[in-house]
Assembly symmetry: D2
Homo-oligomer: 379 residues x 4
């Protein structure tokens, strides 16, 4: 339980870090969306290990295969099964992690819950699981881009105590990807890289904050009460490994403003209702207002450090343990892809949920489909 998300655009992930493979099943993607592995692989490559000097050098090409749900280059409306083989299943020596709980990892809690665990590379709790989410998120992103021209951009906003400047209104994926740390502020980025390399050298690790903006959601996506869009986004982000916080719009800082200063005044802009500021973060009462959806996600420093730390064994004996092998000293550069993927999953779900009841859905010309535009164009 707990491995499925979404009401209409539903994703189930499976797989352990050192098992045969990991994967995802996407159920509910509308038909007629052009889709091939080439639409998914670039997102996976942004998450992949070994992509730069500041990430783990574990060898995994993370090559995705689409096993079902497409035909003649388009989606069928049936479940899309995505599979990523685990190539680098180093047999390794797991005797220590089998017995000892790594601090601030989930070894102890999995034993407490299940009475057993796959201790190789963290098993199901490994961040490797997120590759499956990124693959599924790429499908959601394709759907959102085609049907609603929605664009999602995330970036590294801070690493440890270094903050980069980024304007949510304008930041692009190209700007994000121009530095290996994925911070669009080039100066801050170079200091972040240094900080990460320095932490690695000392066997330590760093955390940080990822910012994300979603552009061109139409007004009306979301739901009242328990499935408010920000609730689903918060749940999605806190479902990512190592996350400790979420804020939307003005967030925690907004609690130090007064209502008069905080409110977003409405005005008309060429027939469209707009707000002059966006402290709401694009969502009011759980439903999009047409402004950009803006939020931030806090990632704790990586739990695996290369120095001895106090712990206990499975048998209740006090001991120590130190991290070994190849690990990220900071997950932020790779986590940008995770945040975007989870945002895409939440939004695709709400796009479909809204389409189901929308009383004022735009008229669709005869012959139109998700994947075919009446002007014959492709998006």
């Amino acid at each position: 339980m707990g491995n499925t998300t979404g009401t209409l655009f539903r994703v189930t992930t499976w797989g352990e870090s050192h098992g045969k493979a990991i994967g995802a099943v996407v159920d509910g993607c509308p038909p007629l969306i052009p889709l091939s592995e080439a639409d998914i692989q670039p997102d996976l490559d942004r998450r992949a290990p070994g992509q730069s000097a500041i990430v783990t050098q574990r060898k995994e090409s993370d090559t995705v295969q689409i096993l079902s749900g497409t035909f003649d280059g388009v989606t069928l409306g049936t479940p899309i099964s995505l599979l990523i083989p685990n190539e680098d299943q180093r047999s390794g020596d797991y005797r220590e992690v089998e017995r000892k709980y790594r601090p601030s990892h989930a070894d102890f809690t999995y034993d407490a819950k299940y009475g057993t665990r796959d201790y190789r590379g963290g098993g199901r709790t490994s961040a490797r699981e997120t590759a499956a989410r990124v693959a599924a998120g790429a499908v959601a992103r394709k759907f959102l881009a085609r049907s609603h021209d929605v664009e999602i951009v995330a970036w590294v906003a801070t690493v440890h105590d270094i903050t980069g400047d980024a304007d949510p209104a304008t930041v692009t994926r190209d700007e994000v990807d121009q530095t290996i740390v994925r911070c669009p502020d080039v100066d801050a980025a170079s200091r972040m890289v240094e900080a990460i390399q320095s932490a690695r050298k000392s066997g330590d690790s760093l955390g940080g904050v990822i910012g994300c903006v979603v552009r061109r959601c139409p007004p009306g996506w979301g739901a009242p009460v328990f499935d408010r869009l920000e609730a689903n986004l918060a749940g999605a982000m806190l479902s990512l490994p190592a996350t400790k916080g979420f804020e939307i719009g003005s967030g925690f800082a907004g609690t130090r403003m007064t209502g008069l200063a905080h409110n977003d005044p409405f005005y008309m802009d060429g027939g469209r209702v707009r707000t002059r500021s966006n402290r709401s973060g694009g969502v009011q009462g759980g439903i999009t207002n047409g402004e950009a959806v803006e939020f931030r996600v806090a990632f704790k420093p990586v739990a695996t450090v290369m120095r001895e730390q106090e712990t206990v064994t499975r048998d209740g004996v006090e001991s120590t343990i130190a991290g070994r092998g190849r690990h990220d000293a900071c997950v932020l550069p790779r986590a940008v892809a995770l945040v975007e993927a989870m945002a895409a999953l939440v939004l695709a779900d709400h796009a479909l949920r809204h389409a189901a009841i929308a009383p004022d859905a735009p008229p669709r010309p005869a012959g139109w489909g998700w994947g075919r535009f009446p002007d014959g164009g492709e998006r």
Copy 2:
């Protein structure tokens, strides 16, 4: 859609602010839990308007009725229907809010989504809806207290720029309730009260942060991946009106620590696995580790202010609007009950989900039930 939460302990709320009533249906509460209105009313009273000088003076006794699901004083295992009549349905003059969108409220987004809305008092988007959640949460709390001795305490941590001291390890509900602002730091509390009264006088409003601790969750509650306990808590908290952020354990501040300093070392404490610090916030890999679950929730300043603000009408004409009538200048004192209720709902659900698969559930003596203890005692 969106008005139901939970997998096994399921709650559906319904009702508009100025309709006949609001309510909740709790489906999945185990049988044999002693339950009457007297178990629920105290939590509602903590949320109720008119309870002190610093909250709205709207007149609603918020008296709950249990319409189903109990018999002879205990739960039946069938749905518990909770109803709270709306007493104060002032006919009022709604001509202005019918036409004009209140800034940073959900008037516009509801129109955008549904093509209509009940504009009286905010309709479904009114925070009044949360009374139904508090009633449902009281049922969850009763179940958790009886079956697992779980205790949930929330408090006002900050109002605007005033921070109160509170020790999550020891703070009690009595300490919280000793000030009308529900901050256990008496000095800070009096400054908070002043700030709220000052804001109200100037027609302005304030926000703040609520802290919450959940004690005595056994290790093993939660789930991998999408239903990590912190994901469900974050989703629950961001589903509350006016919330803009959530953080657990070290939260956003933790992103400025290094891994060596951040990790929680394990040690043995009388046969129990414990951690020396609790930056994880009681959850590792989405599953409780037996330490206290600690989190914070950001509430924006109240959107209703008593001064003219720029807005537009339903017909797309620019205009201005000012709040009128009785409103909170700061929701934090009342929102303490909301945060506790949502936490209780999430935890009750995971308690049941874990019971379904737990391989090492403690042996239950013959004749035992949720509501009957073998020693004849009551908890």
Copy 3:
């Protein structure tokens, strides 16, 4: 758990037979559908006790109240709370049914599951619960009629060994309601009435079969695999009290045909794909083909009989029990409303699910909504 059905058009029912009230919450009904109690009451009246000489004379006016989800005469898109007070809560003498399990009732199984039960009138297991479903079904029916002109007609096909003739292609609700037994074959109907009265006189009871047809579902409603339309219909029908069987199209009799005779040949009818026969029952591969959806539901004879039968007590002592008080000798005439209601719930849900992904939804003129037709007309 188990008291909610539907993915997008979701209904939760609650209430015990002799509690304060019963009710339903309908979440997911699209906005702008005209709706008042007058749309619901007629369906409830068809289910109500005391409506004719052949049904139980229990006194319940079954007057429904809409507590939320509508405003200015139309649905809001928010949850519709429906409440039916229990008027006839005769205190009665329940000492016998408290101790003794009524044969073929759910007294024993509820005790086995929950360790307790509300024994007054069967509590949650009472067929009284179905009034809440009928009320919710009336909302679904209203939506289906307005948005898709869908029509649902059920009738009593057999009582015990008496079979009435009815042509699914043409049978109308008026024809059904012209006899108190709700069989459109007037001759058979009078024999059914006699049989029911005879059974009642001898303290016995009868069962039978209800037929149902759903007209004008567009092709494309339904889903592959687990949520095939016939799967959801079967589940809905077998969720009704006293049901023992379901068949669609050719049903059990169709197993005695060969494929050549059984297949439904396709032909063109004015641009529409049609089938010459309808042994598929309007559904192929779980999805509607545009033909009428036709199915039948088996109801066992009523379990409450007025003669002593062998049973055991809650304490495991063998004993006997006889029914007392006012009961139906045959539920079929009232169950017609139940079958229609459950069919409406299933179809409304699939209508919305299909709208969410339909690539070829018909173009909607500007300004159109579920409740407003561009020609200004009402349906």
Copy 4:
């Protein structure tokens, strides 16, 4: 949507008939259940093509791979990914089925719903999808057998107009498998084989009825209202391809009995509450009573026949089509495995749902787990 079933024991299937593979993800299986491919393959072999002279000779070894969710020979509590490669992807000549709708198949309805379809071998609508269900069902069966000693036996009760005798109280899987048609009545079985071979020779096809019994379910499994056990079973069975009916206990025939004759009297049997007859089919009020759960499922004659039949093309032109290639003339012998699998999925889900709330779950000795028995034994 529609490709997932279950609340706690959740199964998602994916795959098209002639894609790369088909598979299932089982989420929610408790940990510590011994599981390997060898537990699953025998059930797949009973469903596989080519197993006898009377089934299709399509070549598929249907070899299952477990890709995740197990470690050291036991389940982990994490999702179990099951994959079955499609070996026999004959390129074939699909030009005809691409254009023409096969009568009583789902070609037309899939086009109507999705605007596209994988026409090779029926794509997602192919009965090949059920192999994934059988694999998932084998996991459920293993769990049920170990934890509750539950046994499920299905058999061919009728083929066309030939009925075999079988006593639900005693019939065993060995008796079922002793004939290739899977009817335990050897005489009837040989006539069934003849009928099937005769139908095949004439290019025709047959249907029939499968009976199923589930033994040793404890009292208390199931739920009120929408998730009554018989409702979930009916939904599960009607989700199988080619099914047209379901009945439990006395079924349709029971409608011709009177209540006095139909009721199941209770008596005591060594401290256990039992019923003298089992017309309820083991379920009362939606909840098991401890008697055997007995039901029957109607399968229509196979839609693919080898003779020309009237149809239309995708472009709306009338035409004819005849089946070609390798097909079953009767699916019943293979469908026995499908019925058992779906029954196992429903029961495993309800076993977990009941464990979540059971007030009187039997005491579990210290150290006990689903997969480890305190006596050290294995089941």
